[in-house]
């Protein structure tokens, strides 16, 4: 599979632009809905509470893209197709982009840019505290995502820093679960289950890696 001519050509020319398009699509969709609403063509395109709809949509999108980021290396492990790792950076950055928009939408539309209201939310409400910590933890990862930064930091230090994605993904899922009216709801629990599988995969990989000697060539 890894040597298929088609796959190699796809990896070289199409994979990156197609991924970028897929990552922009949710934002484009949101832009269309807002245009429909504000122009009056379809004032209720997002239902009767577009403000709530928008920040929920952005939060869900951010979380799901974050889960996709975490699924890249398991997919590589299973298929053996290494080039897929080349799109991981842009997927991770997109997760950060949507998470940041999620906060901006909440801050602007829900809190009317009131800093005291945001501070109060962060201090008082556990799910918002967790969400803001998860978002804050994404900032250094986004800043150090360039090739230059990887070189400057050195592979080891860079990997240690980017290990943060695991706790921050757990925080993001906890944020999703705790904001619900009741603890057990299908959607956040599905997110949690997917994250659990992705994390367990890493544990299994680590344990198996310890058990058998490392292969001579990567």
């Amino acid at each position: 599979m890894a040597h298929s001519k088609f796959l190699r050509a796809f990896g070289k020319t199409w994979m990156k632009p197609l991924t970028l398009a897929a990552l922009i699509a949710p934002f484009a969709y949101l832009a269309v809905l807002w245009t429909l609403m504000l122009s009056g063509v379809a004032p209720y395109a997002m239902g009767f509470n577009p403000v709530k709809w928008t920040h929920h949509y952005l939060g869900d999108t951010a979380l799901r893209i974050l889960l996709v980021t975490l699924a890249i290396s398991p997919v590589r492990d299973i298929t053996g197709w290494a080039p897929i790792v080349l799109i991981r950076r842009r997927i991770g950055l997109a997760a950060f982009f949507y998470a940041a928009l999620h906060l901006i939408a909440y801050f602007g539309l829900n809190l009317n840019w009131s800093v005291p209201a945001l501070m109060e939310d962060i201090a008082k409400r556990t799910y918002i505290t967790l969400g803001i910590i998860a978002l804050a933890a994404m900032i250094p990862l986004a800043i150090t995502s360039t090739n230059g930064m990887i070189r400057r930091m050195g592979r080891k230090a860079w990997e240690r820093l980017h290990w943060l994605i695991y706790p921050l993904a757990i925080l993001a899922v906890a944020h999703d679960i705790l904001m619900q009216k009741t603890l057990f709801q299908i959607q956040p629990m599905t997110h949690a289950a997917i994250l659990a599988v992705l994390l367990l995969w890493r544990v299994a990989r680590f344990v198996i890696g310890k058990l058998k000697p490392a292969p001579a060539t990567a």
Binding site: M37, G40, P43, A45, N49, V51, E120, D121, R125
Partner: protein, 347 residues
């Protein structure tokens, strides 16, 4: 556990008196089938199916004839029928919300937990004729037809702001009668300190009651002086028409100074009691929902601030935020009810 969710035998009996059960269920089955197929044309092809939504006004339709305790009672209007009412002085300045928002953005957990769920079941529940059981500390206990409790010739319109505990609000032109007029008619004894309202539970048409999200039936209540307050209202309509299923057809309570969940939709039972009723949301989560539940921008919900609210149903689609007012802007009429009370402790 199974016992908990058993049908309430009281309601079964009430229902049996109104319409032969077989007729009742077959109509529902047809409606349900039509609903599943989801085709408007099929609804049109079966006149019986559309009948509950659009009866001929004023016609003494056989389907609507009812007897309660052997007495014939007049039917009340079914959902969406035109209602005549007189204007009242209770009018919120910023105008009613878009009617579609009122009919499509609803919290009525018996019909599902999403805002869009209840509207899917519009017309599925037979709400005319309708009877209400009156019990407890009263000299007028018994079963009443809705038309006995609400004088449909004396309806008034009140444009109230409706503030949901979830930090959104609408402005609704309700149609109905003052709650005090109904309370007086029901002759509560001096021992009655609270009045408790219960929503009907009907597993055949309410998909939500199959899940223990809340303890069914939905129970709410008021202190007697709250129930007698000039603002407390018994609504049978809104926007010039009788209430539809998703907003609590055929009869519900409206207390504009309290969060929306204090209202009871599709009232099947009124009980006068001596002790503070155990209310549905309070039983489900006492930390978040108290008995009083007065709109109060200074007392947070544990998961969000109540200082402001999202306005639903504005004309342009986009919804603004507005500052929440003390008692939802009705401080003048109701503040005296809570004089000397710690509103943080009595949330």
């Amino acid at each position: 556990m199974g016992l908990k969710f058993r049908r309430n035998p009281g309601y079964q009996n009430l229902r049996g008196e109104l319409t032969p059960e077989s007729v009742f269920f077959s109509r529902r089955k047809m409606l349900a089938t039509a609903g599943t197929l989801g085709a408007g044309s099929i609804l049109g092809a079966l006149p019986a199916c559309s009948e509950p939504q659009q009866p001929k006004a004023g016609a003494p339709a056989a389907a609507n004839a009812a007897t309660i305790n052997g007495k014939a009672v007049p039917a009340n209007p079914t959902g969406g029928q035109k209602l005549n009412s007189t204007k009242s002085a209770y009018v919120v300045a910023d105008g009613p919300s878009v009617e579609d928002a009122f009919n499509q953005y609803c919290n009525y957990y018996e019909f599902g937990t999403d805002k869009e769920d209840p509207a899917q079941y519009e017309g599925i529940m037979k709400t005319s004729p309708w009877s209400i059981a009156v019990e407890g500390e009263t000299d007028a206990a018994g079963t009443y037809a809705l038309t006995d409790l609400v004088d449909f010739t004396k309806l008034e319109e009140r444009v109230y702001r409706h503030r949901c505990v979830e930090a959104w609000s609408m402005v609704v032109p309700w149609i109905g009668v003052p709650m005090a007029s109904v309370m007086t008619r029901l002759k509560p004894k001096s021992t009655a300190k609270f009045v408790q309202f219960e929503t009907v539970v009907d597993r055949n048409v309410m998909p939500g009651v199959r899940f223990p999200v809340l303890q069914w039936p939905y129970v709410e209540g008021l202190r007697m002086d709250e129930a007698m307050n000039e603002l407390a209202f018994i609504a049978v309509g809104a926007y010039g028409k009788s209430l539809k299923t998703q907003n609590g057809a055929p009869v519900r309570t409206v207390m504009p100074w309290k969060y929306g969940f204090k209202a009871t939709k599709s009232i099947a039972r009124i009980r006068f009691v001596t002790a503070m009723p155990k209310t549905a949301w309070n039983k489900a989560n006492a930390n978040e929902y108290g008995f009083y539940s007065n709109v109060n921008p200074n007392v947070d919900h544990p998961r969000w601030s109540q200082a402001s609210e999202q306005v639903i149903g504005g004309k342009g689609g986009f919804n603004q935020r507005r500052k929440t007012e003390m008692f939802n802007g009705y401080e003048k009429q109701v503040a005296s009810l809570y004089a000397g009370m710690d509103l943080k402790a009595n949330y």
